[in-house]
């Protein structure tokens, strides 16, 4: 019996090796490159130059600006949608939800192309409002990722809590503020994770909407094409650091079910 047990667990060896080779090793490599210079000497110059150059700090600030703005827009649009879908008694709730997350399965470059054509008709020249266009593009791209986790948390909210609040004399607004909203925070946090990080790095949306300002993603690309792997790795490492802080913070509050929302609709 012991031998059988051993054999079954061996099944994970190929995948384990794969992860070590192609997930762990790349991390080691970028850590190495980030802290060395061209001659292979240990150095902190890449780190200090990132935080002392106005260009790179500007890029970081611009990325954060876009990410914060996109996350807020997504949240403001997604929350009412998710709330209405989860709390009301529509007959074909599942179908309506599908309609809202379906764009997720259409190639995002094609969706942004479509958006670009519409924006060009409305604005005439896209160059006049680069930040606004980027914001619209990102929101359009990431909205489904915010709707899904919030819907998941609201959907399983215990109705008796709302009834109790009503019985105890709370009106609708108060019930929402004191009961519904606080209980939906884990879903909101999962949604923020899904939207915030991609919108800091998705430089394709900016590219396609003719916004030539750099964000963190494009900065990596620029260093990469210039064969400056040391500085590129440092940017990658800084992004990884942001992600790490984010996940450590969110692991505590996020809703585990809602977290896997990328596959939420497919998972059955």
């Amino acid at each position: 019996m012991n031998r059988l047990h051993f054999q079954r667990s061996q099944l994970c060896i190929p995948y384990g090796l794969f992860l070590v080779c192609f997930v762990f090793a790349p991390l080691v490599v970028i850590i190495y490159y980030a802290f060395t210079d061209g001659e292979g000497r240990l150095t902190l110059a890449n780190l200090t130059s990132f935080f002392s150059s106005p260009n790179t700090i500007g890029t970081l600030a611009y990325s954060l600006g876009i990410a914060v703005a996109t996350t807020c827009c997504c949240l403001l649009l997604a929350y009412p949608i998710a709330y209405i879908l989860a709390r009301s008694r529509f007959k074909h709730k599942a179908v309506i939800l599908m309609v809202f997350v379906m764009p997720m399965w259409i190639n995002f470059t094609l969706r942004i192309t479509a958006l670009k054509e519409i924006l060009t008709v409305i604005e005439g020249n896209l160059a006049y409002h680069p930040f606004l266009n980027t914001l619209i593009g990102m929101t359009y791209d990431f909205l489904p990722f915010m709707i899904l986790p919030i819907y998941t948390t609201l959907e399983k909210l215990d109705n008796s809590l709302l009834e109790a609040a009503a019985d105890l004399g709370a009106d609708t607004v108060r019930t929402f503020l004191k009961v519904t909203f606080p209980l939906s925070v884990p879903g909101i946090i999962s949604g923020i994770v899904m939207v915030f990080l991609p919108s800091m790095t998705n430089y394709v949306v900016l590219d396609m909407l003719y916004n030539s300002t750099y964000i963190m993603g494009s900065l990596i690309g620029a260093y990469f094409s210039a064969y400056d792997w040391h500085n590129g790795s440092m940017i990658a490492l800084i992004l990884l650091g942001i992600i790490l802080v984010f996940t450590m913070f969110t692991n505590r509050y996020a809703d585990e079910d809602a977290g896997s929302s990328r596959g939420g609709v497919l998972g059955s």
Binding site: L4, R8, S9, L11, C12, I13, Y15, G16, F18, L19, V20, F22, V23, F24, L27, V29, I30, L77, I81, I84, L85, A94, L97, M98, V99, F100, P103, I106, N107, T109, T113, A114, L115, K116, E117, I118, V121, L143, T152, K156, P198, T201, Y203, V204, G217, F224, W229, G232, A236, L239, L240, I243, D257, R262, G263, G264, V265, L266, G267, S268
Partner: protein, 271 residues
């Protein structure tokens, strides 16, 4: 009253979401190259899409890459999940935590680090497609793993033991008893892997051979260029993809019974 307001709000949001895609769909059937001026009905865009070798190869390449890499990811991820499920804390710790990295990581960072390792440190030739396939598997396999694990947790473990008691070999018991129980997770993992591969831009652009394009990289390059014929042919492509996705969703709703529909929408059964 409130319900009417809700319906109006939801419909308005739907219109906003789908307006660009639908407008493009309408214009893809005309011969005009710009939105705004409808001229005559034409299917020229669709003809170009399937006649032009460059476009045809790009679409075929994208599909082959998506299905191929999804297949590898499904095999690797499923084996990994099953193995980890039966192994001790060590396997769980190593595979489980490494598996989370590509899921939470920004795709650019995954792409960049993998590219530095493969092309920079190991000297892999990009034109061999090796780096491209590995890149896509790195992106997809963790999601397959994530969709199989909950199925393993819900599985009735005594059935496996029963199969062994009745004389099945462990391999046979895995294939005939365990696999059918986790199969829904494997299928949704595969479907998810395909959609991730089709949607990916970053990993593809860092690891692809110079002469190969997927839909994403092709579209991005096309927006930089100014070839009208290709631009409007891509409208046709977007319309076809939209139609396929709508078709799949309708199919899923028709085939799934009520219970599955609920699970599909709310991830209910996964808990």
């Amino acid at each position: 009253m409130r319900k009417t307001f809700y319906i109006i709000f939801l419909s308005f949001m739907m219109v906003l979401l789908y307006l660009p895609i639908l407008v493009l769909a309408v214009y893809s059937f005309t011969d005009s190259a710009n939105i705004g001026a409808i001229r005559g009905f034409s299917v020229q865009n669709y003809v170009t899409l399937f006649k032009k070798p460059e476009l045809r190869d790009m679409i075929a390449g994208t599909l082959i890459l998506a299905v191929g890499s999804a297949f590898i990811s499904t095999v690797l991820g499923t084996l990994g999940a099953v193995g980890v499920f039966y192994s001790g804390r060590f396997g769980n710790l190593v595979v489980g935590s490494l598996n989370k990295v590509p899921v939470v990581n920004a795709e650019v960072v995954t792409a960049f680090s993998l590219c530095i390792l493969l092309i920079g440190a190991c000297g892999v030739d990009k034109s061999s497609f090796v780096s491209l396939v590995i890149g896509h598997v790195v992106l997809e396999a963790p999601f397959v793993y994530v969709s199989v694990v909950p199925k393993l947790k819900q599985m009735d473990n005594s059935l496996y033991e029963a199969a062994l008691d009745l004389g099945a070999s462990p391999a046979m018991a895995l294939r005939r008893v365990v696999l059918p129980q986790i199969f829904p997770g494997v299928v949704s993992g595969f479907a998810l892997a395909v959609t991730l591969s089709l949607d990916d831009y970053f990993i593809t652009s860092y690891t692809k051979p110079a002469t190969f394009d997927t839909i994403s990289t092709y579209v991005v390059n096309a927006t930089r260029g100014s070839q009208t014929e290709i631009k409007t042919a891509l409208w046709a492509l977007s319309t076809i993809i939209f139609a396929v996705v709508v078709g799949m969703v309708i199919l899923m709703n028709l085939t799934g019974n009520k219970n599955e529909k609920r699970a599909g929408a709310g991830n209910e059964k996964d808990r």
